[in-house]
């Protein structure tokens, strides 16, 4: 069963790459599938901004405490270490090593997470960022689970860099800065919808994401439409009904 779902996930990621892909959408799919497949509780991806920091670009949930945890890692944490070192960084029991990343470990405890695993996203000497896996219970990942997680991260990495970028590092910068800016557009649009409908940020995000998937739109495009009052945006601004419930 796991094998079949894993295979399906690879196919899904590759499909995303083939059909006019959007980095943000690709990474969101990656985080959600990792939670399903790997038996962990939360996943987030941080990409390096050329200005010199790691930024959260996708997370399996928009839970505020979890987001705080990712943000902290621009200063310290396993994701930062995995990114810089280029190797997986794992802590099966954060409580047993409180001094390793003091601020991060304290925030993880408050968020209900006991173990964390970070996998680098890189290809040869190109370092993009890292993927974080969080578990509520202490424990290590099996070698097989780690291998699957790294392979999923690698597919996404290769997708972002794709073959043009291997020859031209300018394209990597162009794509990554574009993706990082897309994340800002999504945050701005979340604020717009949260205010209009009196809902929380996580709900505003879900509203846009479900709408984008139901209509086969890119999340970034839907977010931009919310701000610019494009047709999709007007619809999302004027009604709160979840796109899940859409009859079409």
């Amino acid at each position: 069963m796991l094998e079949r779902r894993t295979a399906e996930t690879f196919v899904e990621l590759v499909d995303t790459l083939v059909v006019g892909f959007d980095v943000i959408d690709l990474l969101h799919i990656l985080t959600e599938r990792c939670v399903e497949l790997l038996g962990i509780d939360a996943v987030g991806i941080l990409l390096a901004d050329q200005r010199g920091a790691l930024s959260l670009v996708a997370a399996s949930t928009e839970q505020a405490r979890l987001l705080e945890l990712f943000q902290l890692q621009s200063e310290e944490g396993p994701c930062l270490d995995a990114y810089h070192g280029g190797h997986p960084v794992s802590c099966a029991d954060l409580a047993a090593q409180p001094q390793r990343w003091p601020a991060f470990t304290a925030a993880a405890g408050r968020g209900g997470f006991a173990a964390v695993h970070a996998l680098p996203m890189r290809l040869r000497d190109q370092r993009l960022g890292a993927m974080n896996l969080f578990a509520a219970a202490p424990g290590g990942l099996s070698a097989e689970t780690t291998a699957i997680a790294q392979a999923l991260a690698d597919v996404a990495t290769i997708g972002i860099l794709h073959e043009r970028a291997l020859r031209q590092s300018s394209v990597v910068t162009e794509q990554l800065q574009g993706a990082l800016n897309s994340r800002v557009v999504i945050e701005q649009a979340k604020g717009v919808l949260a205010e209009i409908h009196g809902i929380e940020m996580a709900e505003a995000f879900t509203l846009m994401r479900d709408f984008a998937r139901a209509r086969n739109r890119k999340l970034t495009e839907v977010a931009a439409a919310v701000i610019d009052r494009g047709p999709d945006g007007v619809e999302l601004r004027s009604r709160r009904a979840s796109a899940d419930a859409d009859p079409e």
Partner: protein, 265 residues
């Protein structure tokens, strides 16, 4: 290749802009950002261009150096070039060598004109924070070659500075001058903290205004209260603070802020 949190470069870029303004004996403006760009990236010229709100055409705001003038004029005349593309696609367009088949295919008229003008490389960095997109910072070099990691980082930080300056200038035309940003939150546009962007979206609805104006109101409020932008944003997101479109609300900026030595970033 080190890309840790690079506060050193933030400080260096801010200092370079301040120094240019000091040499000029003027408050910081976009021209000082351009001159700092020339100095920090080993370029022959730098410019900031925007899309005119009146004509919808590509339009230089500020250009330094003869090479900059030539390339900027080419883009205006031809309606194509790295700066035009960067503005259209909301992402950096980095051209380390103008004399390649790829460049000539992408911008056929611009590429040959740029070569004739003596340009070797051009780097266009959009001035944007999400959907707040106001223009592009262009860096012109006579010799082909990459920007180093450090120069690229500086370029992006300079683009942030130019963005904030343009947004502030545009708002000042309507509402009078706003206080300059100060303290750790002065570098708001590179702020990775999403609540600042979320709050910007919320305030834009509360005030029925665009994102840039909403952002400036947030920033003015933070300044008036002597608090960090992020704290104020947290209050907005938690719904402890609302903005009202009233022309004289308590959250309007003070008429005159204290002197602030640091330039906008």
């Amino acid at each position: 290749m080190q890309m840790a949190v690079d506060r050193d470069r933030v400080v260096a870029v801010r200092a370079a802009i301040a120094e240019q303004a000091r040499l000029d004996g003027m408050p910081v403006s976009v021209v000082h950002v351009c001159r700092a760009a020339v100095q920090l990236t080993g370029a022959e010229g730098a410019g900031v261009s925007t899309i005119s709100s009146r004509s919808g055409m590509f339009e230089p705001v500020q250009v330094t150096g003869p090479l900059g003038e030539a390339l900027s004029e080419l883009q205006v005349t031809l309606g194509e070039g790295p700066g035009v593309t960067a503005l259209a696609q909301d992402r950096p367009v980095l051209v380390p060598d103008l004399d390649t088949a790829g460049t000539q295919h992408r911008w056929p008229l611009f590429a040959s004109g740029a070569m004739l003008a003596g340009a070797g490389a051009m780097f266009a960095l959009p001035l944007m924070a999400g959907k707040i997109a106001v223009g592009v910072l262009e860096i012109y070099r006579s010799v082909a070659g990459w920007l180093s990691e450090r120069e690229l980082t500086d370029g992006l930080l300079l683009a942030d500075a130019a963005l904030l300056q343009l947004v502030t200038d545009a708002t000042a035309e309507q509402t009078g001058p706003l206080p300059p940003a100060a303290g750790p939150d002065a570098d708001a546009f590179m702020d990775r903290w999403p609540q600042v962007h979320q709050a910007t979206g919320m305030v834009s609805v509360q005030l029925d205004t665009d994102l840039a104006s909403a952002f400036l109101r947030l920033r003015a409020r933070a300044f008036a209260d002597g608090r960090g932008l992020r704290e104020v944003a947290d209050d907005v997101v938690a719904r402890r603070l609302r903005f009202t479109p009233d022309p004289d609300p308590p959250d309007s900026p003070p008429a005159a802020g204290p002197a602030v030595p640091e330039p906008d970033l």
